[in-house]
């Protein structure tokens, strides 16, 4: 069996065309209820291809989905019966992230991850958010077919963007189906995004990668700087390219997967950067970790100083983000580095009059942009693991 990689190679794109044509016909005929089953069918097909027909690999994915749905259903009963009990929430969150933890830990210590099937990292975001939103009384029913499709929706299975269940269900349920006109607009936009993503990935990212590969390998400062800037731009075009394709393909199936990047390199501070870079990830962390930590801290009056409170929150938030990427020292450093930057940025903007006085001035904005850009690039150097390699030499 041929090796299928999502969003790569002629093999994948041939299948995409074959799978896209029926979706187009269903969309034009305004049959959202049929689209649901068609999406499920293509998901099964793509997972079959990606797993190269291995029943064990497919079984792992299916089992993950079924177990997570069972957890959600049980938790809903628990909340109905006992109300909102904090430790119940914690227990179910732990159960929900347990498979991912097993995978990350075995992968790090044994070199091959137990439970390491595609999409586990991203699916875990979706399962945890459902648990938390059940606790918040935002989700009142867990429909097996719909939630399973939310977890496994193949265009975003591999690396996001991370959708929200209530948003996804709105598109997927077919209750508010798109008119022919709306669908065709979405389809056209989707095609454009796929082409743009291809251009980002195959032309720009691949070209820039040559700089990383040919000019950035020596252990000199100059070479390390070339590596840093090239890697940063490479990462953006590669990941934004992938994200554009994932969003574009979602559109073809009538699902409006949220945007993931918005010109991150024009950011004038680190906070703005995280509203522009890997948006669905950082907003997930904001909504499900940082905000909840802050609410608990305010309610419990944990700190007398607000700035201390949010600084600790940023470091915890981004530290967890780092660990989520993997247990290697580079990823953890990357997370803590950004947590620290966000904390420093917050202290600076709140406590220094200099910022408030000059923030609308042109020179100040250009300087802020320049500093932010370089801090971000240095972050990517940490993320690339090249920095730790260089230090080790």
């Amino acid at each position: 069996m041929m090796n299928l990689h999502l969003y790569e190679g002629l093999y994948f794109f041939s299948y995409l065309i074959v799978m896209g044509i029926p979706a187009l016909i269903i969309g034009i005929m305004e049959k959202p209820k049929i689209m649901r089953y068609y999406i499920a069918l293509t998901t099964v097909f793509v997972i079959y291809l990606v797993c190269k027909g291995s029943w064990i690999a497919m079984g792992n994915i299916a089992l993950f989905g079924v177990v997570q749905i069972a957890l959600a259903k049980i938790f809903m009963k628990v909340v109905e019966k006992y109300g909102r009990v904090k430790w119940h929430l914690w227990a179910f969150v732990v159960l929900s992230i347990a498979p991912l933890c097993v995978y990350k830990i075995t992968d790090f210590y044994l070199g091959h991850g137990f439970l390491g099937f595609i999409g586990i990292s991203y699916m875990t975001f979706k399962s945890v958010q459902i648990i938390i939103e059940i606790y918040d009384n935002l989700i009142h029913e867990v429909k097996f077919f719909d939630v399973l499709n939310f977890y496994l929706f193949w265009p975003t299975l591999l690396s996001g963007p991370i959708d929200r269940s209530r948003r996804f269900m709105g598109d997927f349920s077919g209750d508010t189906g798109l008119s022919r006109r709306e669908y065709l607009d979405l389809f056209g936009e989707g095609l454009f995004k796929i082409l743009l993503g291809l251009f980002y990935k195959l032309v720009i990212a691949a070209t820039i990668y040559q700089g990383v590969y040919w000019l950035g390998q020596d252990p000199s400062i100059k070479s390390a700087l070339i590596y840093m800037y090239c890697y940063g731009f490479y990462l953006f075009f590669d990941f934004a390219g992938y994200s554009n394709m994932a969003i574009g393909v979602s559109y073809i199936f009538g699902i409006k997967t949220p945007e993931n990047f918005n010109k991150p390199f024009i950011s004038k501070d680190i906070k703005e950067f995280w509203d522009r870079w890997h948006i669905t990830l950082s907003h997930w962390f904001r909504d499900f970790i940082f905000s909840r930590y802050s609410m608990a801290a305010i309610r419990g009056k944990w700190f007398s100083d607000r700035v201390v409170m949010s600084s600790i929150g940023f470091i915890i938030n981004m530290g967890i983000m780092g660990v989520w990427h993997g247990l290697s020292i580079s990823y953890i450093l990357y997370g803590l580095y950004h947590g620290l930057l966000l904390a420093l940025n917050d202290v600076y903007q709140k406590k220094f009059k200099f910022h408030k006085k000059h923030k609308k001035e042109r020179w100040y904005q250009i300087l802020s942009w320049f500093i932010t850009f370089n801090l971000v690039m240095f972050g990517f150097l940490i993320f690339s693991e090249h920095l730790v390699e260089l230090i080790g030499k």
Partner: protein
């Protein structure tokens, strides 16, 4: 609690947080854009609404755009109280 009482209490909380009574005159003023509240004030506000009205204000429930003016906030809170 009727709608007027809810509105009054919501405005009290917002006014205390941003320390400016402009929010009573201009109920469509954008709190975040105008720098009247920052993201931590926003979260503080959610906590205070939860405690004042005994409701759940989930931070993942609404986008910031759904909660950025006094009027929108009143509507969101009233929906949960009523």
């Amino acid at each position: 609690m009727n709608r007027e009482q809810v509105e009054e209490k919501v405005l009290d909380i917002i006014q205390e947080i941003c320390d400016d009574d402009i929010i009573r005159q201009e109920k469509d003023i954008n709190l975040l854009d105008e720098g009247l509240i920052d993201s931590l004030d926003y979260i503080d506000m959610l906590v205070q609404f939860e405690e004042a009205f005994d409701i759940i204000m989930s931070p993942s429930e609404f986008t910031r755009e759904e909660m950025d003016t006094p009027q929108k906030i009143i509507n969101q809170v009233a929906k949960r109280v009523g």
